[in-house]
Every structure is written in structure tokens, then in C-alpha cells.
């Protein structure tokens, strides 16, 4: 089920009303059933895959706690292998087969295999990582195995975040699923505001930019260098607004149920270094890799060479997590290289707001933003060859952008720029003083006017062609 669908418009209010109407024990099962329904709208049979991993991890956690020494490790490995095995099968088997066939063709082995006709279960990468964080935390002794099967199942299946994150930790979610939440007016209103903001980013900005992005990257050879660069910048904002918009809707819906999910984005395009970017972009994924890959490899408490190796491993894995294509691996590798190549920021330049007018700070922001956008080419292209085609056309000295007007209209094209500008201005001021809280402090009439105007902006300017959230395919 998509958040921007009619079904969700009826689904969530129903869940919300039932949630506060039912007793705590009934709430849990209602949420579980609702989450299953939410997931099964896509492909009903795929719920069995998630249920299988839930059962495996539920029992594995108890075995990990019960045993000691190697036995503990074996049970952890069994859980990880089960989770990763399913992920590899559905997401990476065709990538492996394609590369095996390519190698076969190169060395004339004649042992090629047909590609498998399997659809990727939606959100597989997200809930797999979330499930793995549970058994790893139990192994580390930081989390007790959850006795209630329903509570653990809901930890994996909780519908606001199960298909595109944030990738939660058991210490954050499990306790919240067990306590009885009273109706909290403030939390619910804050949640509603976040949902509204999420829909604005997704429907008004991301889906509008998608028109131009799709046109440019479907046929980059038809567009000038300037147009290709505009397409690249638009894609950077499209993917940000799409993904963070989804996260905001997820966080807002959860907050309306008085469950606090972790923040997944923190104005990443205001970053002044690639290192800072990765503390602000898809925070749940970057912290997952930090805690479960980078630190176990030694982190930065090793020699320089090993530290660099660790960084590259994490970013290559992160790229590969995003998609089964060499382009994603290159994307991850690029970010790793950018991070290694960038100078360390000094403690004096910690706050963006304090030194906005400092030319060095602006230059750092400009460079960081353009490096991130350049890497986006490898995120959107279908193949390495396509990447080179895009880069070649981006280098052309033809600056005409009139062809972009034909994609939709001139007014839509310039409206896209206005929206991006407004977004950046909002995020800049939101960083300094939480604008949602400031709105809450306003008198009722101006406050309601803002809500009504936002609602009508989404209704009027939103693109309602049910464009799927980009990160659903991960």
C-alpha cells in the first residue's frame, strides 16, 4: 500500500481510531493485522517470507541467550545467514547470474544460466537489516530476547516503517510497543504536521521533479549539457524529497500512535563535508553500517591503511545494499573516496548557522553539494555505460534549456526551482529554530491558516499519478 493512495486515506484513520479505542492487548494484535494488510496489498504471498524470518529470529534470539561461547555465535550466524540468504536470493541472484553469464561469454565456457523470474519483496532490505539488528543486539547482551511473539513480529512488521525505514533498533521500538500509550494531543498534532510536510515533499516537489528527471535520463543524448546538469540537480532533490518525505509520513503516522521512530534525515543538503552528509542522510542506514560493520572491523582505531579499507568496505556495501548493479557499487565507492579525500573539519566550524557568511564555509558547502550530485549520476543510471553517456552529455557546452520546457511546461519548470529554493530556505531556518514548534506557539487563526494553505497546496500542486516511492525497490 502506498502512503499516497486512496486506500491509505481510509486505512490509517481506521487504524488510528481503533488504536485508541481498543485495550492495550487488543491494540498489539490490531496493529499486527493492520501491518500485514498494509504489506499484503502489494503481493500477499510475500508475507510468508517475512514471517519465516520472524520465526527464525524469534527462536534464534532465545538460543543465543541460552548458550555461551561458540554456540552463541553459531545461532547468531544462523539468523544472519537466514536473513542475508533471503535478501541475496531475491535481490542479488540475478545480478550474480548476469555477471556469471558475462564471464562465461568472455572466456567461452558455455555454462551460462537463465535469469530468475522473481519479483523483489517490497522493503526487503529494510526489514532484513532491522531484523538482524535485533539478534546482533541480543548477542551483544544489549537486548533481552522478546518473549511475546506478537511484539517481536510487530517490531519487524510495523507498517509505517517496514517498507522504507527508518531501520530501527530493538531498544527504541520494543519497549514502546509494550507500554500503554494514552491519547496525547500534542504528539498527535505534531505527527499530523509531519505527515503533511512529508506529503508536501513527496507529492509537490519529488513527483514534479520526476517528470524532468525521467525525461532527461531516459534520453540524455537529446538534451544539452546544461539540461543534463539541471536533471542531475533535480534528481538529487527528487530522491531527497521522495525518501525524506516518506520518512516524515512514516514518523508522523507512528507519532500519531505515540510511537517515536528515529530521525532519518537532518537537512543533508546543508552539509559542508561528505562526512557530515553521512551523518544527515539516511541516518538509520549509516548508523547501522557504523555499528555492525565499521566498528567491528576496527573503525578508526586501527592503522591508517586499515581505516581507509574499513571506510571503503562500508561504503561499497552501502552502495550494494541500494541495488544489485555495478552503478550502485561505484556510487558507494565514490562516496567512500570523497570522504577519504576531504579534509577534516575543524572544531571551530561545527555549526552551519554560525558561519553562513564565511566564504570558506560556503565553498565547502558548494563542493560537497556538487560531489553528492555528481555521485547521483551513478544512482540513477541503469548501467556504467549509461553513466558515461550522461557524463559526456553533461560536459557539452550547449547551454540551451528550452527543451526542458517541453517536458511539461515552462511554468512547471520554473516552479520546480521555486519549490527547491523554498525547501532549502525552510530547512535552513528549521535547523536553527524548530519551525514546527514555532507554528504550534502561534495563535489559532494563523496556525490553522498555515495548515489549510499547506493542505490546499498539496491538493492543488501535488502530482497524484501515484508515483511509487523510489526507495521501495531497495
Amino acid at each position: 500500500m502506498l502512503f499516497n493512495s486512496l486506500e491509505f486515506l481510509f486505512f490509517f484513520p481506521t487504524v488510528f481510531v481503533l488504536y485508541y479505542f481498543l485495550r492495550q492487548s487488543q491494540r498489539l494484535w490490531m496493529l499486527l493485522i493492520a501491518s500485514c494488510i498494509f504489506y499484503m496489498v502489494y503481493r500477499p504471498e510475500y508475507i510468508l517470507i517475512i514471517l519465516l524470518t520472524i520465526v527464525i529470529d524469534y527462536f534464534a534470539a532465545f538460543q543465543i541467550q541460552k548458550h555461551s561461547g561458540n554456540k552463541r555465535m553459531q545461532w547468531l550466524l544462523a539468523s544472519i545467514v537466514a536473513n542475508v540468504g533471503i535478501l541475496v536470493f531475491f535481490k542479488y541472484s540475478n545480478f550474480a547470474i548476469a555477471n556469471w553469464n558475462w564471464l562465461n561469454a568472455k572466456i567461452n565456457l558455455h555454462l551460462s544460466s537463465p535469469v530468475l523470474n522473481i519479483a523483489l519483496p517490497i522493503g526487503l532490505s529494510f526489514h532484513t537489516f532491522q531484523a538482524m539488528s535485533y539478534t546482533i543486539e541480543v548477542y551483544r547482551g544489549k537486548q533481552e530476547p522478546e518473549k511475546h511473539f506478537g511484539v517481536y513480529a510487530l517490531y519487524v512488521l510495523f507498517f509505517p516503517q517496514m517498507v522504507a525505514g527508518p531501520i530501527e533498533r530493538p531498544q527504541n521500538i520494543l519497549p514502546q510497543l509494550k507500554i500503554k500509550h494514552q491519547f496525547n494531543y500534542t504528539e498527535i498534532v505534531e505527527g499530523l504536521k509531519q505527515v503533511l510536510w512529508g506529503f508536501f515533499k513527496k507529492l509537490v516537489i519529488a513527483d514534479r521533479l520526476a517528470l524532468f528527471v525521467n525525461a532527461v535520463f531516459d534520453h540524455p543524448q537529446d538534451y544539452s549539457g546544461a539540461s543534463v546538469w539541471i536533471g542531475i540537480y533535480f534528481f538529487a532533490f527528487q530522491i531527497y524529497c521522495d525518501f525524506s518525505g516518506y520518512s516524515d509520513i512514516a514518523l508522523g503516522c507512528a507519532r500519531m500512535l505515540c510511537i517515536r521512530l528515529m530521525t532519518n534525515f537532518n537537512a543533508p543538503y546543508l552539509s559542508t563535508s561528505v562526512k557530515e552528509f553521512w551523518t544527515r542522510w539516511h541516518i538509520s542506514l549509516s548508523t547501522w553500517f557504523r555499528d555492525y560493520v565499521y566498528i567491528p572491523l576496527g573503525g578508526n582505531k586501527v592503522s591508517n591503511l586499515k581505516w581507509m579499507r574499513n571506510i571503503l568496505i562500508v561504503f561499497v556495501l552501502s552502495g550494494f545494499w541500494h541495488g544489485s548493479n555495478w552503478t550502485f557499487i561505484v556510487w558507494g565507492l565514490l562516496h567512500g573516496v570523497f570522504l577519504l579525500a576531504s579534509p577534516q573539519s575543524s572544531p571551530k566550524e561545527r555549526t552551519w548557522g554560525a558561519s553562513i557568511n564565511h566564504p570558506a564555509k560556503f565553498l565547502k558547502w558548494f563542493i560537497t553539494f556538487n560531489l553528492v550530485c555528481f555521485a547521483c549520476i551513478f544512482f540513477i543510471a541503469n548501467s556504467i555505460n549509461d553513466c558515461w553517456t550522461i557524463i559526456q552529455h553533461a560536459m557539452s557546452t550547449n547551454f540551451s534549456i528550452t527543451k526542458l520546457y517541453e517536458v511539461s511546461s515552462k511554468s512547471q519548470f520554473y516552479l520546480s526551482f521555486v519549490l527547491i529554493f523554498l525547501l532549502m530556505v525552510f530547512e535552513y531556518f528549521h535547523q536553527r529554530k524548530n519551525l514546527f514548534e514555532r507554528i504550534q506557539l502561534m495563535p489559532m487563526i494563523p496556525r490553522w491558516s498555515i495548515y489549510i494553505i499547506m493542505f490546499w497546496i498539496i491538493l492543488k500542486f501535488g502530482m497524484f499519478s501515484q508515483q511509487q516511492f523510489i526507495y521501495f525497490v531497495f
Binding site: L6, Y20, Y185, V189, Y451, I452, W456, L459, K460
Partner: protein, 300 residues
């Protein structure tokens, strides 16, 4: 909790009031608008009440071309017949859409002697060209039309968009549709492949054909009950024989045997590439040539 539900109800009520106000304004102001067939791509603006026409054109952009530029007036002058065009271009000429247009036409107490339905095989295979297309975005708000769309299973998304786009007036096609006068110099096989890929979104499935074939049969039955003759035509094109053309011709033959309708395959009627603006549409000169041919052919 009660306080929250009261507030949210007031919020919803305020927005509903604004919605009803905007829609009412849209409905009553659009009722006063008058457009000729060559001034708008919309069908509802040209379907009035208690009118009689000699010819009605239905179908996709191949039919729509007859009212673009100066073609509509040329057609009426050449044939001496009064024509109404409810065909829709820009992806809105699906079979579901045409069925609704015809039902609406007759429910407004109109009549027509002959329907020229310009049809293509791709239209039988995809909901994206039929009930899921956003053809309603360019139509004014009309409760009867909405009811017919609902009864004919037009997608919820299309229906919601139908209402949503009426909150302002930028959907209105007030200016004349851009009509292309350029000519092709040769057939570009890459362009032909791209066009076919754009039309045939996925592998065609027989079950989809049968679903939309039933709707075509309903169109024929509806026309028959109103004593309207119906002629199906496959328009001139440079795409060659499109996928599933034989399947369509078999179906039309069955309809001919069952209902006595006529059908013609004009794929190769115009072969001169300079008569085409793209590989699938005749330009201004090509359309006039084709209109002359239709006028001279006794079958029409």
C-alpha cells in the same frame, strides 16, 4: 481525545466547504463556456443537448486529428455533413472513454447518423490507455458524466483527479491545440520502435483484449439501438502493421457478421512520408488528402 476529534472535524468541515465552493464555482462557470470542436480537446464542451449530427468521430488521436487545425471545417465543407468529434488524443482515446462519451451523448438526447471510429490494436490491451488514463483531467465537472465514469469502472485515481483538477481553472484548454505542419522526410526505424514501445507498454494479453472487445461490442449495441451506423477504421500510419492487428481484424470481422458493421484497414492508404508529421500522425496536408479520400469513398 474528544477535543482532538472536534478540532479535526472542524478542520475537515472547513476544507469540505472550500472544496464544495470551488467545485460549484467551477461547475457553474464552465457551463457558460462555449467551444467549437477545433478550439478544445475536451469532449464535454462540444456535446450539447438535443442536437443532430451526420457524423460523429470517435477514437484516439487519429480521430482527434479531424478537428485539429482547419481540418474540422475542411471536413464539413468537403462532405457537406455536420460533424461532432469526441475522439481524444494525448492518451485519452481509450475504449472505456469512448463508451462513456457515447452514452453521455445519447443521454443528452442527441442523435447521429454515422460513427467513424478510428481504432488501433494497442488500445485493447492496457488499462493505462483506458480506465486508468487521466482523460478526465481535461473535462469540465459534470455529475452525469461522473456517474457514467463511476458505473463504467473508471479507476478511482482518475475519478479523484477529475474532481481535484477542478479546484482551479488551469486545466482548461482555451487555446487551440498545437497542430503540427512539419513533414517527415524518411522513415526512421528507431523512431518507429520507440513509438511502438510507448504504445505497447507490456506484452499484450488475450484476456485484456477480450475485456475491451466487450466494451467495443457495447458501443456497437448502443449505436444500433439508436439507429446509428458505425464504421471502424485503422488509420494511415508509417509504423507498418502494428502488433495484434490481425487479432483486431478478426474481432471486427466477427462484429461485422454479428451486427452488420463495416470496417476498413487504411494503414497503407497514405504512403508519402511528407504527408506525416510523425510516424503515426498525418500532418495538415496529409489529413486533407485523407479527408478527400473518405469523401470520395462510397463506403463512407
Amino acid at each position: 481525545m474528544k477535543f482532538f476529534y472536534i478540532k479535526i472535524s472542524i478542520f475537515i468541515f472547513i476544507n469540505l466547504l472550500v472544496m464544495v465552493g470551488l467545485l460549484s464555482f467551477s461547475y457553474y462557470s464552465d457551463k457558460k463556456l462555449k467551444f467549437e470542436n477545433w478550439e478544445t480537446e475536451s469532449s464535454l464542451f462540444v456535446i450539447h443537448e438535443n442536437k443532430h449530427y451526420d457524423i460523429m468521430i470517435m477514437g484516439n488521436s487519429h480521430g482527434r486529428q479531424f478537428s485539429r487545425g482547419s481540418n474540422h471545417k475542411y471536413f464539413e465543407e468537403k462532405t457537406g455533413k455536420k460533424m461532432i468529434n469526441v475522439a481524444r488524443g494525448l492518451g485519452g482515446g481509450g475504449i472505456s472513454n469512448m463508451l462513456i462519451n457515447l452514452e453521455y451523448f445519447y443521454q443528452k438526447n442527441n442523435s447521429v447518423d454515422t460513427i467513424l471510429y478510428f481504432i488501433d490494436p494497442y488500445i485493447f490491451y492496457y488499462e493505462e490507455w483506458n480506465e486508468a488514463s487521466l482523460f478526465l483531467d481535461n473535462e469540465p465537472l459534470d455529475p452525469l458524466y461522473f456517474e457514467l465514469c463511476f458505473k463504467n469502472n473508471i479507476s478511482k485515481n482518475s475519478l479523484v483527479n477529475y474532481v481535484r483538477t477542478k479546484f482551479s481553472d488551469d486545466w482548461l484548454y482555451k487555446e487551440k491545440m498545437q497542430y503540427h505542419f512539419n513533414s517527415l522526410t524518411k522513415i526512421d526505424s528507431t523512431a518507429v520502435t520507440k513509438r511502438l514501445q510507448a504504445l505497447y507498454i507490456r506484452a499484450p494479453q488475450e484476456k485484456d483484449f477480450l475485456k475491451y472487445a466487450l466494451q467495443v461490442e457495447r458501443i456497437i449495441q448502443l449505436a444500433k439501438t439508436r439507429n446509428t451506423k458505425i464504421i471502424f477504421t485503422l488509420s494511415p500510419t508509417l509504423l507498418g502493421e502494428q502488433p495484434q492487428t490481425k487479432r483486431l481484424l478478426v474481432f471486427l470481422c466477427q462484429m461485422q457478421n454479428k451486427y452488420g458493421i463495416n470496417y476498413f484497414n487504411h494503414y497503407d492508404k497514405v504512403k508519402n512520408t511528407t504527408m506525416f508529421t510523425d510516424h503515426d500522425h498525418l500532418n495538415d496536408v496529409g489529413m486533407k488528402l485523407y479527408i478527400n479520400f473518405i469523401n470520395s469513398d462510397s463506403n463512407f
